[in-house]
């Protein structure tokens, strides 16, 4: 019976189910297409289905990491899609859709590239501070505060693009989404950089501990000296900044800014990635690595569905159902039903008089 104990230990390991799901999906793809794992060099850079998944999934990977921190404080941010659209729109507007006289692709931009990036990301950061302030200082429920930005945000993005899809002609801008560095897609470097910064911030400083404390028990955290309000504003700011980065990558990839469709439904994907990664919606212990895996699962799933010629429309339904089921599994009631043999004096129904 030793294998039973081993199995129990293995399944209890933190990211077992996510890894298993990912492995399953990859295996399925491999079976259908033996060249699935093939990575080759072409034109000086790596190509292959796996590379595709990573590149296409870069925006989602980044947003999922930012959203993880917000969810860890028992909050939510459904405005990330709107921020993606806004930052792409700002970048496009700052560049200006000008063609140069001689060549089709312009080398002309209204503002220098660093200014463009700062503008787009700066606005994203400000929007995050806006969200965080409404939640932390004005006491608005996170769903309402971010729902408002979701509504206003799409409108603002449309205003900036004047309702059109703006084409970006300035070729250096394409580097973020389409460029390669050392043979690897540049967007992956951005993902890695974000992952590194967030991991350092949360695990090498006390920020991670404070976030988990706030998410679990904001009152007790404050009594222990945690600066709950400041940290709450900070996590929403980080989340929106991530959405801004994703917006730049996305608009760079497509070399266009679309106020309507940029980032559409990405909030669902991001929430799904976070819950698949093991961070509960009620806040507390979070895992950036888990959210990364969750995002990879979603991206792989999308690719699998496409290649299997299943109607892609079904994915929206499937994702919604998964969020539904995971919410139930994470609920208090399930915990009560399953955890009845846990010796837990603080979670009994009764309180001594």
């Amino acid at each position: 019976m030793r294998w039973l104990g081993f199995a129990r230990q293995l399944t209890g390991k933190r990211h077992f189910w996510s890894l298993a799901m990912l492995a399953l999906l990859l295996a399925y793809n491999l079976v259908r297409d033996p060249h699935f794992f093939a990575i080759s060099m072409y034109d000086g850079h790596l190509t292959g289905s796996l590379v595709d998944i990573l590149v296409r999934g870069a925006p989602l990977l980044i947003i999922s990491m930012g959203l993880t921190l917000v969810v860890a404080t028992h909050g939510i941010d459904i405005s990330v899609g709107a921020v993606v659209a806004i930052s792409g729109a700002v970048a496009a507007a700052l560049i200006g859709g000008q063609l140069s006289g001689e060549t089709g692709m312009g080398e002309v931009t209204r503002f220098a590239l660093p200014v463009v990036i700062t503008g787009a990301l700066g606005l994203a950061l400000l929007l995050g501070i806006w969200n965080g302030t409404l939640v932390a200082y004005f006491g608005l429920q996170p769903i309402i505060a971010t729902l408002i930005l979701l509504g206003i945000g799409r409108g603002v993005a449309q205003l900036i693009t004047d309702g059109q899809i703006i084409t970006i002609y300035y070729s250096p801008y394409a580097f973020f989404g389409r460029g390669f560095l050392l043979g690897l897609p540049f967007s992956l470097f951005i993902v890695a950089a974000v992952a590194a910064v967030l991991t350092l911030l949360t695990r090498k400083t006390a920020l991670g501990l404070f976030i988990e404390a706030i998410g679990d028990n904001p009152v007790a955290s404050r009594l222990a000296g945690v600066r709950a309000r400041t940290i709450t504003v900070a996590v929403y700011a980080v989340c929106s900044l991530c959405a801004g980065i994703a917006g730049v990558i996305g608009s760079s990839n497509l070399m266009s800014a679309d106020g309507n469709n940029a980032g559409l439904w990405i909030e669902l994907d991001a929430i799904l990635a976070v819950v698949l990664g093991g961070t509960p919606l009620s806040g507390g212990k979070f895992s950036l690595a888990g959210s990364v895996m969750g995002a990879l699962i979603i991206q792989t799933l999308a690719t699998t569905i496409l290649s299997a010629h299943v109607a892609p429309e079904i994915t929206l339904v499937v994702k919604g159902i998964v969020v539904f089921i995971v919410s139930i599994l994470q609920s208090e009631r399930i915990k009560m039903l399953l955890g009845s043999n846990r010796q837990d004096p603080t979670r009994t129904k009764g309180t001594p008089g």
Binding site: K204, T205, A206, L207, L209, F210, E212, A213, D216, N217, V219, A220, S221, R222, L223, A224, G225, V226, R227, G284, K285, R342, Q343, D344, P345, T346, R347, T348, G350, T351, P352, G353
Partner: protein, 518 residues
């Protein structure tokens, strides 16, 4: 005065041998209670004595582990407050527990007889409400929202509701027992008189009233008999006429002094030596906050233990919260080491060397999902700031040293703190503050809900730190604890400080006298 006991009548309610456990804590041990019809029976005891647990057993919120409930001689087993209501046991809670956004008439009749149909007949409801309230000598506009009336009136409405008949299909069951849980905490003098009039009317109708209050005057004025609880056990049942105020207090707070292994005389001697008195660490003058407490004057010396004594509602917790900056004071001043300070958040206090163990450790103390280790180092980490991170090795070191020092029973410091027993959780909380090397520790009911062994260990630890120069301010309902550990006793009553004296050589009766109000 209608205080004559009716001992020949058959009891309408008997609770026999009620025992109730919660994990780690024995809330009630073999408690008996007898209610006679038409009497006012006061249930007395301090915080944690078991009063509200007993009431919860009676009203069906918790089933007892053992014991019997007999209503008019028949055994009952209510499964919920609704069950209890159907049997004729109604409760009016301290917070009234009605809906402030509904009208008075609705609060009386919604869900009771009179609105059993889907459609509501407003006129009829209004008329019946007015009649019912008139019976209680209350004449108000019943169509106005409940929230537009003061608490005294809201309580009358709650009482009126409890007197409405249940139409649960069978014969209508009138109220036999009315439980009033701290009904006068927020009432003015004349409103209390009104309430007592109503109580006497209900008495005359044969309803038995279980009256829970911490106001001794009122208990003496209105009740026929007392039952006193202490530490989950029944101390006794007494007719009012046979008990003096002093006796009651002594029975409620007790006189045991814990054995600490410290020589009280030695400590007293040490503090009256020839050394010049050190400068006060913390001083307050007239500290207060509107709606909370006022007129708090304190001077706490390094290494001194100050005990705050007083009954429930006297303002002990509020004072502790003001000292720690949880609530912002709007009156008076506070100085630390002679320099004025103003705390706007707990972190300010922590930075100045204070620590605070709250009364409700479950909701305000422990952070359940975090590990024991993380809970212990949290305040220290906050003090150091975000960037001066404690390495995992250092965290383990700190945690294990305090686990050893305080005797926290756990195999692994990385499990969630929720897995510890109550006593061990309190020790972990204490460790949290000790890790910050505080100059003053504020403890609010530090040994509440903890088994005796852990109580002694915790207080011994605190006292040894006192000897090393840490000041302690602790609030407690247990007189034995206060007199056993404190150097000075501060007495609170009615949300202000009313007295202070050294603990050594104090006549306990003198303290009780001040608490009782003379």
């Amino acid at each position: 005065m209608s205080n004559t006991p009716m001992t020949d009548a058959r009891p309408v309610l008997e609770m026999k041998g009620i025992t109730k456990h919660f994990p780690g804590v024995r809330a009630l041990s073999a408690v008996d209670l007898r209610l006679l019809p038409g009497e006012v029976h006061a249930l007395m005891g301090q915080n944690g004595a078991g009063k509200s647990t007993l009431v919860k057993v009676l009203t069906g919120v918790h089933p007892p582990d053992s014991g019997q409930l007999l209503l008019e001689g028949h055994e009952i087993k209510p499964q919920s407050p609704l069950d209890a209501q159907k049997l004729g046991i109604s409760t009016v809670y301290q917070e009234v527990n009605l809906c402030p956004n509904l009208s008075v008439a609705e609060n009386i009749f919604l869900g009771r007889g009179g609105t059993s149909n889907v459609a509501i007949r407003w006129k009829e409801m209004r008329r019946k409400a007015e009649v019912l309230l008139a019976d209680l000598n209350v004449h108000i506009d019943v169509t106005a929202l409940l929230s537009s009336y003061p608490l005294a009136v809201q309580q009358m409405v709650a009482i009126a509701r409890s007197l409405t008949a249940q139409t649960g299909g069978a014969a209508e069951v009138g109220t036999k027992i009315l439980i009033l849980d701290e009904p006068t905490s927020s009432l003015a003098e004349d409103e209390v008189k009104m309430l007592f009039l109503v109580i006497r009317r209900l008495k005359a109708q044969g309803i038995a009233i279980l009256f829970i209050t911490h106001f001794l005057n009122q208990a003496f004025e209105i009740s026929d008999r007392f039952t006193v609880l202490r530490n989950g056990q029944r101390v006794g049942e007494y007719p009012v006429a046979e008990l003096s105020r002093m006796d009651l207090i002594v029975k409620m707070v007790g006189k045991e002094i814990a054995e600490v292994g410290l020589d009280r005389a030695a400590r007293a001697a040490a503090t009256t030596s020839d050394k010049p008195a050190p400068a006060a660490f913390l001083e307050t003058h007239g500290l207060g906050k509107k709606g909370s407490v006022s007129g708090i004057d304190l001077a706490v010396l390094p290494g001194q233990a100050v005990g705050i004594a007083g009954l429930l509602g006297s303002g002990r917790t509020e004072t502790a919260r003001l000292l720690f900056g949880i609530d912002r004071a709007d009156q008076g001043t506070m100085t630390i080491d002679g320099k004025p300070v103003r705390f706007s958040a707990p972190l300010d206090a922590i930075v100045h060397g204070l620590g605070f163990c709250p009364e409700d450790r479950k909701s305000e103390g422990i952070i359940a999902e975090l590990s024991i280790r993380e809970n212990i180092i949290l305040a220290l980490q906050c003090k150091r700031g975000i960037f001066r991170n404690l390495s995992r090795a250092r965290q383990d070191e700190i945690a294990s040293s305090y686990i050893a020092l305080l005797g926290i029973k756990t195999a692994d410091a990385s499990v969630p703190i929720s897995k510890l027993s109550g006593g061990n959780q309190q020790k972990a909380l204490l460790a949290r503050w000790l890790a910050t090397d505080p100059r003053m520790l504020i403890l609010d009911e530090p040994t509440r809900g903890i088994d005796v062994g852990a109580k002694v260990e915790i207080m011994a630890q605190v006292m040894s730190l006192c000897d090393k120069g840490m000041a302690v301010v602790f609030a407690s309902s247990e007189m034995g604890e206060i007199l056993g550990y404190a150097d000075r006793v501060v007495v609170m009553r009615d949300r202000t400080k009313v007295g202070e004296m050294p603990a050594a050589g104090t006549d306990e009766r003198a303290v009780f006298q001040i608490i009782a109000g003379g």
